[in-house]
């Protein structure tokens, strides 16, 4: 469908733009990209949850992220959700959409962080609007699979 490819291409152009604006090449600054993701996630959650009841607890919210939210944005569900019940969640996507065209192995591994940062921001923004403050990092060992680590900040 046309709207899928639009998101894919726009996303890769945004990545290109942000990376191109970096002056020093050895330490890439992807915080702009993360912030773009954050505000996108913060806003999209209003639209996705307008018909939904309130969530029971944190785990319920995470399940929503893994199923409904992921299907809406990435057209598939998260393949694996794990948690230690103390505020750490690991979401694993075996064929992550923004990595699926790049490679299926180790090629391009060093630039993979560029293509997952936006999504880290989207997750953080969505959870922030659902009253969960957290840190989101991503880990890519072998493309196209990707793990998102969510660490909830308790106050």
């Amino acid at each position: 469908m046309a709207d899928d490819i639009l998101l894919d291409l726009l996303h890769s152009e945004i990545v290109q733009y942000v990376v191109g604006n970096n002056d020093n090449m050895k330490d890439e600054d992807l915080s702009t990209l993360e912030y773009i993701g954050f505000s996108t996630g913060y806003r999209i959650i209003e639209r996705l949850t307008k018909e939904m009841p309130r969530f029971k607890d944190e785990l319920d919210t995470m399940k929503f992220i893994c199923t409904d939210f992921w299907s809406a944005v990435y057209k598939k569900q998260i393949d694996n959700l794990r948690t230690n019940h103390q505020g750490v969640y690991v979401l694993q996507d075996n064929v992550f959409r923004f990595l699926s065209r790049l490679s299926n192995g180790k090629q391009y591994l060093e630039v993979a962080p560029r293509y997952v940062t936006f999504t880290c921001g989207v997750i953080r923004g969505s959870l922030a609007n659902l009253n969960i403050q957290c840190l989101v990092t991503a880990e890519v060992q072998s493309l196209p699979s990707c793990k998102f680590h969510i660490q909830v900040q308790r106050t």
Binding site: I5, L9, Q16, R101, L102, N104, G105, Q107, Y115
Partner: protein
């Protein structure tokens, strides 16, 4: 029936990709020289066919055949050129070329932000997908006769 090799050229005529499967005879020159010759010949054939045609051509040059092999040619509206050499018994190669363009090239080169469009294709994923696609196609069924 068998597939010999494939060339992909961009609209400026530089070689983006080459791969061979059952190629028994080498041209005895470097890949770059061979690609230039190939492109030059295709360019001439194309304009020759268009000029000599007694009727208005719709698609222009499609393929040529020698006693030993057939060269199939597909040019997209954007000027990309796909060239596939097969033996003389192969059927439906034009569809195959279309599918390669649509399902392999667009998917794994155009949609890959790390592949720039005017340079030789480096992506391993594209290479493996193309190889698998050719090998499962009906044109590739048996070894050369």
């Amino acid at each position: 029936m068998t597939v010999h090799n494939i060339y992909i050229f961009d609209k400026q005529g530089s070689l983006l990709f080459y791969q061979e499967w059952n190629r028994l005879k080498n041209s005895g020159m470097t890949r770059e020289e061979e690609a230039k010759l190939m492109y030059g010949m295709l360019f001439s054939l194309k304009s020759f066919v268009n000029k000599i045609s007694p009727l208005d051509t719709k698609e222009g040059f499609l393929y040529y055949k020698t006693s030993k092999y057939t060269l199939h040619y597909l040019e997209t509206p954007s000027g990309l050129k796909f060239v596939l050499n097969t033996d003389n018994h192969s059927q439906g190669v034009r569809d195959l070329l279309h599918q390669i363009y649509k399902e392999i090239f667009v998917e794994y080169v155009v949609k890959n932000p790390l592949c720039s469009l005017n340079e030789p294709i480096q992506s391993e994923l594209f290479k493996t997908k193309l190889d698998a696609y050719i090998k499962q196609s009906s044109v590739y069924l048996t070894k050369s006769m």
